[in-house]
Amino acid sequence: MSRVLFLWIVITGSISCTVIKPNQVSIAENYATVLKGVSTVPENIYFRMYSLKAQSEQAQLSGLISTTGSANEALQFLDESFNDRIAFLNLIDSMTESYGLVKDYADLLMALVNDSYLAKFMSQKSSWQLSFEKLTSKYFLTTGKYKGAYTPASVGASGLVGNLLQEIGSTKIKSLQKKYLQQAIATSTPIIKSICQSFIDFDLPRLKADYAAMPSFLRENFKDFLGNINAYEKQAGNNPFHYYKDYIPVYHYMQYQYYEAGLLLTRMETCMKDLMASFDDFLYCFDHDIKRKDLPEAITRLNDSFSALTRLLSNLDAIHNKYNKMF
């Protein structure tokens, strides 16, 4: 009798250990939401910075084309300038593709959080799988190439994902959570952490240096553009004032875009640093079933900075429209 009782205690004990509780689901949702939110911002910032450079170079290029006497030379500059822009686009792709992996992991975690996310994930399961496999293989290739550059990604992740994808659609979410949620968080975190660390170590210094150098870059290119207009108009006996006034909004708009990029960069820096400081707390809270009201300060701080970032992203269009109405 006592043996049966002992067995019953062991069985019920092990079940209660593996059941995922609402607090754990809530922590997982919080974690995945932040990851998904920040994963698209690096591309957004890089694009804003390089688009701004390209706009200012476009103005300078028109001054150059107007002073060259040779059509062949003019076309050479136009072609080079076009290639330079495409190089910017390729650079944005290559610099930010690793953040796509963070987004894919976040989508997977979200699918394990509740039925509505799961249904959404199911509808795009094939495209998710293709994207994930491509990004993962590139990531392993890159981290293998640059030996020691990153925390080695757990090979268990591929097995987990394969099994999970097979069961999604035929197994209820509670069972999926019980079998995979803890493992999915544990195996994905080292990779996500190293990608976020690379934002702080490599992307942030570049972006901040680009940002600091930008005002002079915009100003000097625009000066060259205005200088050519001034010379041509004076030579033609015209007052350059009538031409300058048309270009003032162009310069101001570039300054405005610079202002927007700065807001985004500042918010993203804070949020990414808060995220880096919260990884261990997320894992701890998940493993120890911590209630939402008892979350550690690091996670509360992250949620505040993430909220500031998302609020800014959703307000950018509205601020933009207000700015345009000032003229």
């Binding site: 300078q60 500059f77 290559s94 610099m95 990531y139 981290t143 550059a149 210094p205 600091a212 002079s216």
Partner: protein, 196 residues
């Protein structure tokens, strides 16, 4: 001595050698904008093992992890790139200090062409992540040097800018060497290659 340590010492020696050029830049050092990373006077930085006067003067301390050394080397690459960008910007400012209305169309063309190539070089500096970029950097630095010497010989009104251009061109060549060293060591940003 392990082979990796020998490579590391050789790379650092070549990087430090490349960074020895004297600079009298009046452009505000962009590193001053980094949080917790005050501007460094690169001319005065003494490379003592383990000290951290800024990435340019950094040498690995005994027992420092490979990861930490790599991180410092990449930051040195970033610092060098943006130092070059600042010097190129200084040359652009010198070019724009001339009054356009006194320049002939040919002189304005030479000035605009120089600014155009400076833009290309600055762009290549900030995207120095692979070997093809390093090659382009060297090609465009050559084009800029060519324009600078033409300017010195023929364009009297722009002579004042040529000194800044020469200084920038020399620094760009040195920075290209730093990029090459970081690239061949595998010490570049581990970006995932572009979308196929």
């Amino acid at each position: 001595m392990p082979y990796n340590h020998l490579i590391r010492i050789l790379v650092f020696s070549s990087l430090l050698y490349a960074c020895e050029s004297k600079s009298t830049s009046s452009v505000k050092d962009i590193n001053a904008e980094y949080e917790g990373n005050p501007a460094t006077d690169y001319d005065k930085a003494k490379p003592l093992p383990g000290n951290d006067p800024g990435a340019m003067g950094y040498m690995p301390a005994e027992g420092e992890s490979e990861e930490e050394s790599k991180r410092k080397a990449i930051q040195m690459q970033i610092d060098s790139a943006y130092k070059s960008i600042a010097l190129l910007e200084e040359a652009k400012i010198a070019l724009n200090n001339t009054r356009d209305e006194v320049l002939t169309a040919a002189e304005r063309n030479a000035k605009s062409k120089s600014i155009y190539y400076i833009n290309l070089l600055q762009n290549e500096m900030c995207r120095a992540v692979d070997a093809s970029i390093i090659n382009n950097l060297k090609v465009n630095a050559g084009k800029l040097e060519q324009i600078t010497s033409t300017m010195e010989d023929q364009v009297s009104n722009l002579k004042s800018a040529s000194e800044s251009l020469q200084k920038a061109a020399v620094y760009v060549s040195k920075t290209a060497n730093i990029f090459s060293a970081c690239f061949t060591s595998g010490w570049v940003k581990p970006a995932i290659s572009k979308k196929q």
